[in-house]
C-alpha cells in the first residue's frame, strides 16, 4: 500500500461496531496498513480511547449500537479537550445520519455496504493525514506563553482575511511596551511574562467582542488585525486597567500604532510595517500613547526609503559634501583659529540639500552611518593634508564617530590607515563621540575609547549635557575635550542658564580638560563664555559651516594677524 509508505510508523485505529462481521471485515481491510483494535459499543470504545489516547489516530464508528450509540460517543469525545483531536469516521447506511454526524464533528463517513477496500483505505489515510497536519499546525501556530498566534501563522491568516473579506475595513495595529527590557531587568522575567500574558488576555477579550486575529510578533510587540475602530483610547484604557491589576506600583506605558482602514490591495506585512512605524514614532513623543499612521508619516517613510536607496550612489558620485566650521580659541586677547569640525551635507540631485538632522538619525538606526562616517573621515583627512600643503599649517579637524563605529573591531586600524594615506598623525584628526553613546553600553564604550586613546587619538565628548551621563561616569570616562551642547548656550541669557554653564565649567575644570562651546551665535554669548573660562568656541558668531574653498579666508586672516 502506498499510504503506509508515507510515514514510517503504523497508526493505531479503533473500529467500533456491534456487528462482529463488520468488525472483521474492516479489520481485515485495515490491518495490512494499521494496527487495529475493536470495541462492540460506545461505552467499551470510550474506555479504550481513554486508555490509548496518546496513540490513537482514528476511530471508525458505527452509529446504532447497544449500551452507548455512536452519536453519544461523538458528543462525548468532542466535549473533551484532550480527546477531541482524535478524528472519527462514521460507518453508516443512512443519509440523514451522515449529515448529523458531520455536524456533530465527525471528520467523514463510510457508507454501508462498504465501498471498495481501496476507497476505504484512501479515506482513512486522508483523514489521519489531515488530522496530523492540523495537530502540527495547532502546536506551531500559537505562542506558548500567550496563546496568541505566532508571527508566520498570523500573517498567513491575516492574508486569508484580506482574501476572503476584501470589503471589510480592517485596522493593522502594533502594540508594545515602552522599555520592556527594563521591566524584565527591574522586576524579573517572571513579572515580564505576566505582563505579556495580561496583555494577551486583554487582546483575546477584545477579539471575542470585535473579531479579528492577533499575534505576539516578537518579544513585547503584539499585532492585531481587526475591524476598523474609532476609539483606541478606550481600547488602551481597558488594557492599562488590566495591567494595573497585576501591579499597583509599576507604571507600564503602552504604545499603540495604528494603520487604519488598510487598502484592500495592500500587502498585509506592509500594513504592519506601517503600524509599527507609527508605534515606534511614539518613542520620540511622551505626550501620546496612540499614534495613527497618517500621510505625514507616509511621506516621511517614503522619503526615508528614498534616502536609504540612494546613499550608495551618493557616496560614489560625491553627492555628500563635507563642510567645515571653524573653532576659535578665545583665551587670548583675540580669537585664534584653533581647528575645524567636519560636517556632512547631502546635495541630492533631485531632493536638493538634505540636512544632516534628517539623514544622520535615519542612518544611525540602520547602520548605514558607518559608510557616511568613513566617507567623511577620508574626505576630512584629505582636506587637512591639502590645507597643510597649501598654507603650511596643521589645522586639526574633528570628525564624528557614531555609536555603531565603536562596535567595529577594526575601527582604530581603519582610522590609522586613513591618517597614513594622508601623511597625518592622530593630532590632525580628532574624534567626536556623542555623550549618549557612552550611556548606552558603558563598559564596551570605555574599552573602545580607551583603546583609541592608547593609539594616540584625542577624544572629544560631543553634545555634553544632552544625554544622561552620571557624574560618576564622567570621572571614569576617557576624554580629552568636552563639547557643550548648544542647547545650554541658547539659554545663556537666562539667569539659570548662566549658572548652569558655570556649573558645567566647574566640572570641566575638575576633569582637567579643555571645553569647547558650540552653537555660539552672538558676541554677548562669546563674552560670557570667555568670562566663565570656556577655552574654544564654535558657532555662527564666527562662521556657519562652509565648503572648503570658503574656508580659505580663515587661514588668510590668521596669516595677516601673524604678519601684524
Amino acid at each position: 500500500m502506498t499510504f503506509s509508505n508515507s510515514y514510517p510508523a503504523r497508526r493505531l485505529v479503533l473500529v467500533v461496531d456491534d456487528e462482529s462481521v463488520n468488525r472483521h471485515l474492516l479489520g481485515m481491510i485495515l490491518s495490512e496498513d494499521y494496527d487495529v483494535i475493536y470495541a462492540e459499543n460506545g461505552r467499551e470504545a470510550l474506555a479504550l480511547i481513554h486508555e490509548k489516547r496518546e496513540l490513537l489516530s482514528l476511530v471508525l464508528l458505527d452509529l446504532l449500537m447497544p449500551e452507548m450509540d455512536g452519536f453519544t460517543l461523538i458528543e462525548t469525545l468532542r466535549a473533551d479537550e484532550e480527546l477531541r483531536r482524535i478524528p472519527i469516521i462514521v460507518l453508516t447506511s443512512e443519509k440523514s445520519a451522515e449529515l448529523r454526524s458531520l455536524r456533530l464533528g465527525a471528520a467523514d463517513f463510510i457508507t454501508k455496504p462498504y465501498d471498495m477496500p481501496e476507497v476505504i483505505l484512501a479515506r482513512v489515510w486522508r483523514i489521519i493525514e489531515l488530522s496530523e497536519g492540523r495537530s502540527i499546525i495547532r502546536a506551531a501556530e500559537k505562542d506558548p506563553l500567550t496563546g496568541l498566534y505566532t508571527m508566520n501563522f498570523f500573517e498567513e491568516y491575516a492574508q486569508q482575511v484580506r482574501r476572503y473579506e476584501p470589503n471589510s475595513a480592517m485596522d493593522a495595529v502594533a502594540l508594545n511596551i515602552d522599555r520592556f527590557h527594563m521591566v524584565n531587568d527591574l522586576y524579573g522575567r517572571e513579572f515580564g511574562d505576566r505582563v505579556l500574558i495580561t496583555i494577551a488576555e486583554g487582546i483575546l477579550g477584545w477579539r471575542k467582542e470585535r473579531g479579528g486575529i492577533a499575534c505576539r510578533a516578537e518579544a513585547d510587540m503584539f499585532y492585531l488585525y481587526w475591524p476598523h475602530c474609532d476609539d483606541y483610547d478606550a481600547v488602551l484604557a481597558r488594557l492599562e486597567e488590566l495591567l494595573a491589576g497585576i501591579s499597583r506600583t509599576t507604571r507600564l506605558r503602552l504604545r499603540v500604532g495604528v494603520y487604519p482602514n488598510a487598502g484592500r490591495d495592500e500587502d498585509v506585512s506592509r500594513q504592519f510595517d506601517r503600524a509599527k512605524v507609527a508605534c515606534n514614532r511614539i518613542r520620540d513623543t511622551y505626550a501620546k500613547s496612540i499614534l495613527i499612521y497618517d500621510d505625514e508619516m507616509h511621506r516621511r517613510e517614503v522619503y526615508a526609503e528614498r534616502l536609504i536607496n540612494d546613499i550608495q550612489t551618493a557616496l560614489e558620485e560625491g553627492q555628500l559634501k563635507v563642510y567645515y566650521q571653524p573653532k576659535y580659541d578665545i583665551r587670548g586677547d583675540r580669537p585664534r583659529l584653533h581647528g575645524a569640525e567636519a560636517l556632512v551635507r547631502w546635495q541630492h540631485p533631485e531632493l536638493g540639500m538634505v540636512g544632516p538632522n534628517v539623514f544622520i538619525p535615519l542612518f544611525e538606526r540602520n547602520g548605514l552611518i558607518r559608510l557616511v562616517d568613513r566617507y567623511v573621515w577620508r574626505t576630512a583627512a584629505a582636506q587637512a593634508h591639502a590645507w597643510r600643503e597649501e598654507f603650511g599649517v596643521r589645522l586639526p579637524i574633528s570628525v564624528n564617530v557614531s555609536r555603531v563605529d565603536l562596535y567595529d573591531p577594526d575601527l582604530a586600524k581603519t582610522l590609522l590607515e586613513i591618517l597614513k594615506e594622508n601623511d597625518l598623525t592622530t593630532a590632525d584628526l580628532l574624534l567626536e563621540i556623542t555623550e549618549s553613546a557612552y550611556a548606552e553600553d558603558t563598559e564596551q564604550m570605555l574599552e573602545t575609547v580607551q583603546g583609541l586613546r592608547e593609539r594616540g587619538f584625542l577624544i572629544e565628548m560631543d553634545d555634553f549635557g544632552s544625554g544622561y551621563s552620571s557624574l560618576n561616569m564622567l570621572a571614569v570616562m576617557p576624554i580629552d575635550v568636552l563639547k557643550l551642547d548648544m542647547k545650554f548656550i541658547q539659554n545663556v541669557q537666562d539667569g539659570k542658564g548662566v549658572r548652569l554653564i558655570e556649573l558645567i565649567m566647574d566640572i570641566v575644570k575638575c576633569l582637567g580638560v579643555p571645553a569647547v562651546a558650540e552653537g555660539v551665535e552672538t558676541a554677548e554669548q562669546c563674552r560670557l563664555l570667555k568670562e566663565i573660562g570656556c577655552d574654544v568656541i564654535q558657532g555662527y558668531y564666527f562662521s556657519r559651516p562652509v565648503p572648503p574653498e570658503e574656508f580659505k579666508p580663515f587661514f588668510f586672516k590668521e596669516g595677516q594677524h601673524a604678519d601684524d
Partner: protein, 114 residues
C-alpha cells in the same frame, strides 16, 4: 462445505462480497459462516413477537448492514424491506417477511453445514 459456487446458487452476489474481502475467498466464506448464528435474527423475531417495533428496527437495521456487506441478497432483500417498514414504525403484519428472512437464513445455515 460452503463454497462460492453454492453461495452463488443460493443467490448471493459473491463478486461484490468477495471484493469487499480483498478477493480473499476463505475470508469471505468465514464471514458468511458467521451469519446464521448472528443473534440479531433472534432479537428481530422476539421483538416482532412482542410488537416492540423500535427494538425490531434496531435488529433489522444491524442485520441489513452485515448482509449488505457480504452481499447475501436472498436474506438482505426481505431484511431491508422490514427495516424500512420498521423505521417508519409501520403497523403491519411482519410475519410473512420475518418468515422469509428466517427461512433464507436457515437455507444458508444448511449450506454451511453441508
Amino acid at each position: 462445505m460452503l463454497t462460492i459456487d453454492a453461495l452463488q446458487a443460493f443467490g448471493a452476489n459473491v463478486t461484490d462480497g468477495m471484493t469487499r474481502c480483498l478477493g480473499r475467498e476463505d475470508f469471505y466464506l468465514r464471514l458468511v459462516r458467521m451469519i446464521p448464528s448472528d443473534r440479531n435474527f433472534e432479537r428481530l423475531a422476539d421483538a416482532i413477537g412482542t410488537n416492540d417495533l423500535a427494538a425490531a428496527f434496531e435488529a433489522a437495521h444491524a442485520l441489513k448492514g452485515v448482509l449488505a456487506n457480504l452481499s447475501l441478497t436472498p436474506i438482505l432483500t426481505p431484511t431491508a424491506e422490514m427495516t424500512e417498514l420498521l423505521r417508519a414504525r409501520t403497523e403491519t403484519d411482519y410475519a410473512p417477511l420475518l418468515d422469509e428472512v428466517l427461512r433464507r437464513r436457515d437455507e444458508l445455515r444448511a449450506l454451511c453445514a453441508d
